[in-house]
Amino acid sequence: MRGAAATEKRGMRELGAEKLVGWDEVTHGVVINSFEGDAANIASLTSEERIYSDFNSYTATVASWRVVKPVYNRDICIDCQNCWVWCPDTSIISRDKQMLGIDYDHCKGCGVCVEVCPTNPKSLLMFIEAEENDSALSQWPEKKKKEKE
């Protein structure tokens, strides 16, 4: 499975694959820590700089939900960040005002990013999950001309 392979590579676990503590063993008012150690200034750290604990859903994946996936074309992108602001799954990776790509561990393939992309042709398009990204990029459509009346 594509999702599982990606998960293994990043040291992540598939949802449900871990050994769980039963409800009877969980004490009332249990606290789950999102981070290892001190988490005082988390708003000033990017996700690469943070030390996530095993309980943070960042370490999990929902890649297996996807039937179609968005593919990103760097050459057309104008870094408008529309996809970033409206992605419901925190799956658009943006650093220093630049769009870097898609987090395929957390993307569910809803297609909102493709709909809000303003470029012509779109710099994000949906392809079926089995399509390789390189082959998807080679099939990118040409610029659509405005039809004159």
């Binding site: 789950i32 988390i42 859903s57 602001v85 925190t90 005002k97 561990d105 993307c107 909102v112 709909e115």
Partner: protein, 317 residues
């Protein structure tokens, strides 16, 4: 990088995410867009309480949590109570000097769905606002109990079919009008009350910032399109919210100190409400000839509300 300005989207995108992926909300759910935006528009430490609802059950599936801030899992009705309790405790400890970091800026936020805000948690929310705690309550209004199978709530608009108010041979869906929660909260005298929509990201982020900065209880009603119960394609979430705000089904406005009303977004061309209704499965039956009068009633309601808002804006009452 620290983020305080939301003037342009490129600046805004340098904010560090504090709401993680791999939560189990439906693909295309607007809940997470709203929550992400709230957490991205501020650098303050947040203490968040969440009513039971889609957001709560999908972001804290044992053993995982999607929240990178302090987050309290609480009952169906009492996120407002939990947030106000935490705020009272924080103030008391600050006074006694027992805080670890007394200079840190801490904000208290409560999230609730429309079921837990309009119906079940109404009394708790009303109490917390009356007591005047310094917190912000954000209602994610998807107009039904989406978590339990789409039952009717008092936020469901007239004519919508839900699992407990079904359209069919006898009925055209819900027969009652939607409760005007924003006006009710403004009547409490809350310093900042607003209705915002995720498609207008800048207005929404500025509204959130205003609410977080304002001392005292603030209430924000946000439109959250529900792909599952409104029955539309997940990719159309933003398009549908556009239709909602442009057809004035959800006017975007704020009320300051209970009387200063400002309309924050005026559509250039008002979209006919049929377009908004036709885009969703839950209003399909309204286009049958015998249900035409319901559409007329919806239109009448929209015109009345819009006129009322404009008059209130002018008169400042």
């Amino acid at each position: 990088m620290a983020i305080t300005s939301v003037k342009n989207l490129k600046e805004f995108s340098t904010s560090n995410e504090r709401f993680e992926g791999a939560h189990l909300l439906c693909p295309g759910c607007a809940h997470s867009m709203i929550v992400r935006e709230l957490m991205n528009c501020t650098d303050d430490n947040l203490v968040i309480a969440t009513n039971t609802g889609c957001l709560e059950v999908s972001t804290a599936v044992y053993p995982y949590t999607s929240w990178d801030t302090s987050w309290i899992h609480i009952g169906f009705e009492n996120a407002a109570t939990a947030a106000s309790g935490a705020e009272a405790m924080y103030k008391a400890r600050k006074r006694k000097g027992t805080l670890k970091d007394p200079d840190a800026s801490v904000k208290f936020v409560a999230f609730g769905g429309d079921g837990s805000t309009y119906d079940i948690g109404f009394q708790w929310l009303s109490g917390a606002v009356e007591r005047g705690h310094d917190f912000t309550y954000i209602c994610l209004d998807n107009e039904n109990y989406a978590n339990t199978g789409g039952q009717r709530s008092s936020s469901t608009p007239i004519g919508a079919t839900t699992s407990t108010a079904q359209a069919g041979r006898v009925s055209y869906g819900k027969k009652e009008k939607k409760k005007d929660m924003v006006a009710i909260m403004a009547a409490h005298g809350a310093p900042y009350v607003a209705q915002l929509a995720p498609n207008k990201w800048k207005i929404m982020a500025q509204g959130f910032q205003k609410a977080l900065e304002t001392k005292g209880p603030c209430f924000i009603n946000t439109v959250s399109a529900c792909t599952t119960e409104w029955k539309f394609d997940p990719k159309d979430t933003i398009h549908l919210t556009d239709l909602a705000t442009d057809s004035l089904m959800f006017p975007v406005y704020e009320i300051i100190n209970g009387h200063e009303l400002n309309i924050l977004y005026r559509p250039k061309t008002i979209v006919p409400v049929e377009e908004y209704l036709n885009a969703q499965g839950r209003y399909k039956h309204l286009f049958k000839p015998e249900n035409k009068h319901v559409i007329e009633e919806i239109k009448k309601g929209i015109t009345e509300t819009w006129e009322m808002l404009q008059r209130r804006e002018e008169a400042r009452v």
